[in-house]
């Protein structure tokens, strides 16, 4: 008994610093934010009396759209990041140890420069006179030429035709250049977010892939599977934990991001992060900003919790099914 208390004590002592840290700098601030939402605000930027005024203010018709847009863009960014990170991590894990270090280093290299500087650099890359814009325009024209014949597909078209650069000479394929710059658009936000968050997706997947036994892929091919089938059915489930962490590592910061939409999204891509920033820093309405933050956290955590609950339930159901099947198999096996 004495030994047990002793080990309990050491356990407590070792976890105490991190626990204290988390309580002080995570749990307490989160609770403060939550508490702020039940306060009004004072005109000079302070936190007012206890009230439900802030929550009532949240019934802004703009917010559902912005929340939905934020979730949609974060989802897009996450999907792209995972899709790009998977082959990337696979390739790195299959490299020789020397190259592995070099490539892993190259992926982390951008972190040595300031994030804001990098986003600003993208502004130059996406300048309306730049090559990326030209590529984007070419794509839009191609899309227009191809899809304008299909009923029900809408492509942004403006009556006022821009001079000269019309593909295939179709009169109706005039594209509104003012509205279709790549900068200040959703595409810019998604593109640069993918660029920014990609290393966060690659690293956890790579860590999992490094531990993956690649002879399993050989076994799968030996049993008749094509390369992609083996990748999908053996590799992806084998590194599933890495993918889950990558999703969290990308999705959560993407939901909260405001620098990228601020600098590259213009007025076309205002996300919840920008709104929170605006309420807190420009309007000095801390309770309102807190309420938005709480709302966003709920919008992420509630579905995540539901998903976790659903997976656990499904796993339990599967297990019951398997037990049943085994019992069945045993009984028929006995009869045969």
């Amino acid at each position: 008994m004495g030994v047990r208390t002793e080990s309990h004590k050491t356990e407590w002592l070792t976890t105490l610093p991190s626990l204290a840290w988390l309580t002080l700098f995570f749990a307490v601030p989160a609770l403060i934010v939550l508490a702020f939402t039940f306060h009004g605000h004072t005109p000079n930027g302070g936190v007012g009396e206890w009230s439900l005024a802030t929550w009532k203010e949240l019934v802004d018709p703009d917010y559902p759209t912005i929340v939905w847009k934020t979730l949609r863009i974060s989802f897009q960014v996450t999907v792209w990041c995972i899709l790009l990170a998977l082959p990337c991590a696979y390739a790195i894990a299959r490299m020789g140890t020397r190259w592995r270090g070099v490539v892993a280093g190259a992926i982390m290299l951008p972190f040595w420069t300031s994030f804001v500087v990098r986003v600003f650099a993208w502004k130059t890359v996406m300048h309306p006179d730049g090559w990326l814009q030209a590529v984007y325009h070419g794509w839009l024209h191609a899309k227009l030429a191809l899809f304008s014949w299909i009923p029900g597909v809408s492509v942004p078209v403006l009556a006022d035709p821009p001079p000269g650069n019309c593909l295939l000479g179709f009169a109706h394929c005039a594209i509104d250049t003012a509205r279709t710059t790549i900068i200040d658009s959703e595409i810019a936000v998604v593109l640069v977010s993918v660029y920014t968050f990609l290393p966060f997706a690659i690293m956890p997947i790579y860590t999992a892939a490094e531990k993956f036994d690649f002879s399993l892929l050989e076994a799968a091919r030996d049993l008749g599977a094509k390369n992609f089938h083996a990748f999908r059915k053996i590799f992806v489930p084998g590194i599933w934990q890495g993918i889950v962490s990558a999703v969290l590592m990308v999705f959560i910061p993407a939901v909260g991001s405001y620098v990228i939409p601020q600098m590259l999204g213009g007025t076309n891509c205002v996300l919840i992060g920008n709104k929170i920033f605006m309420r807190a820093m420009q309007q000095r309405n801390i309770p309102h900003a807190s309420a938005l933050a709480t709302l966003m956290a709920a919008a992420v955590l509630v579905p995540l919790g539901l998903a976790a609950w659903w997976t656990r339930r499904a796993a339990a159901r599967d297990r019951r099914k398997l037990e049943l099947r085994t019992a069945q198999l045993m009984s028929t096996g006995g009869q045969r």
């Binding site: 036994d213 002879s215 030996d222 008749g224 398997l322 085994t326 045993m330």
Partner: protein, 365 residues
């Protein structure tokens, strides 16, 4: 044309020749072993058959079809890997069903086949477990079942018993043999363990330095080794290096340094002056305290020796004797009640003898 044929296969890795102009023919339904020390090229040959390596030279034919350049998923050749390579994220049932699902077989057929093979390997009750919940021997059986369930043309086994402990290995040997008899599929078995190869195989190819040293039935490999390497790799043997001094009818006389003339059966009709290695297996040599009675014909080879070491094993006793400067190992089986017999002990002066027919000459080139 043979069922499976390696035609003049070579494989070069940089400056290393892993496989050096190997030609082999395997019959349908045969249990064929590739036996040799590590680095002899046996695994490379197997991987070329599986489709994981391309030969630098030569072609491989399966039922008359050139499969040399086919990827692994397009040959009906499955491998039982040394580490089993069971898919850890799938149940045993799904592991076994993998090849059938990939081939998009009807669901009912898949279920029947998987259930049937599970019953054959007696793991029905473990069907819904995951590989890490099974013991080594069970994993081994699942790996075999997974590779056999869609009835491949050839089953490749890459040192499948290497990871098991001795007792389980002996058990699995019998099981493998039974499975081979049941399914009638051609098995190609790679091993460095001569015991496994001898007990399982219809024929064995002994490999060394990427070449086939001998290809024959186990008994011939053991009794009539083609080269000095085969004689020493398969079981224990005593070598007497020397030169043929005289030929007398079917027998010849070998002069070996520090030894009286040795009589040996001259099966290859070698001429006098030919340098040979005479291999005499320990169990073919007798040890007695008294000289044996003279035999007819070429007579016996009799040498005086001193006992250096004795290891009693119950079934037999192993002796190491010193004859002149030479050490001779002898394995004396006990077919009679041992305690009634006069025993030989350390430092005894004894007679060591064997019949000229029981030595086997290997030419020295």
């Amino acid at each position: 044309m043979a069922f499976l044929e390696f035609q003049d296969i070579s494989k070069q890795y940089g400056s290393v020749k892993a496989v050096d102009h190997v030609s082999l023919e395997v019959k349908q339904g045969e249990f064929f072993s590739l036996l040799g020390p590590s680095g002899c090229g046996k695994t490379t040959l197997l991987r070329m058959l599986g489709g994981f390596e391309r030969p630098t030279e030569g072609r491989i034919f399966l039922e008359g079809k050139d499969i040399t350049d086919l990827p692994p998923n397009q040959r009906r050749v499955h491998t039982v890997f040394q580490n089993y390579a069971l898919f850890p994220t799938m149940t045993i049932w799904d592991n076994i069903a993998f090849s059938l699902k990939v081939a998009k077989r009807p669901k009912k057929e898949t279920e029947e086949k998987v259930d049937a093979i599970l019953e054959m390997i007696q793991l029905g009750e473990h069907a819904w477990k995951y590989p890490n919940q099974l013991s080594g021997g069970q994993k081994q059986r699942v790996a075999i079942a997974r590779a056999l369930v869609d009835r491949p043309q050839v089953l490749l086994l890459d040192e499948p018993l290497a990871a098991l402990d001795l007792k389980l290995r002996q058990h699995m040997l019998i099981e493998l043999d039974t499975i081979h008899d049941q399914v009638g599929i051609t098995f190609i078995y790679v091993t460095h363990d001569q015991g496994e190869a001898m007990s399982l195989s219809d024929r064995i190819a002994v490999l060394n330095h990427g070449r086939v040293e001998q290809l024959d039935i186990p008994a011939k490999i053991y009794e009539a080794p083609a080269t000095r390497f085969v004689a020493s790799f398969i079981g224990d043997t005593n070598f007497f290096a020397g030169e043929i001094a005289a030929v007398r009818g079917d027998y010849c006389e070998i002069r070996s340094e520090g030894f009286p003339a040795i009589q040996a059966y001259n099966d290859k009709a070698l001429a006098a002056g030919q340098r040979v290695d005479l291999s005499v297996r320990p169990e073919k040599i007798r040890v007695t305290k008294t000289a044996p009675a003279a035999a007819k014909g070429p007579g016996l080879n009799v040498v005086k020796a001193t006992v250096q070491d004795i290891v009693y094993q119950g079934v037999y006793t192993k002796y190491w004797l010193k004859a002149g400067a030479r050490r001779i190992s002898v394995l004396e089986p006990h077919s009679r009640f041992l305690l009634d017999q006069e025993t030989i002990t350390w430092n005894d002066d004894v007679f060591v003898w064997w019949h000229p027919d029981d030595g086997y000459m290997v030419e020295v080139k």
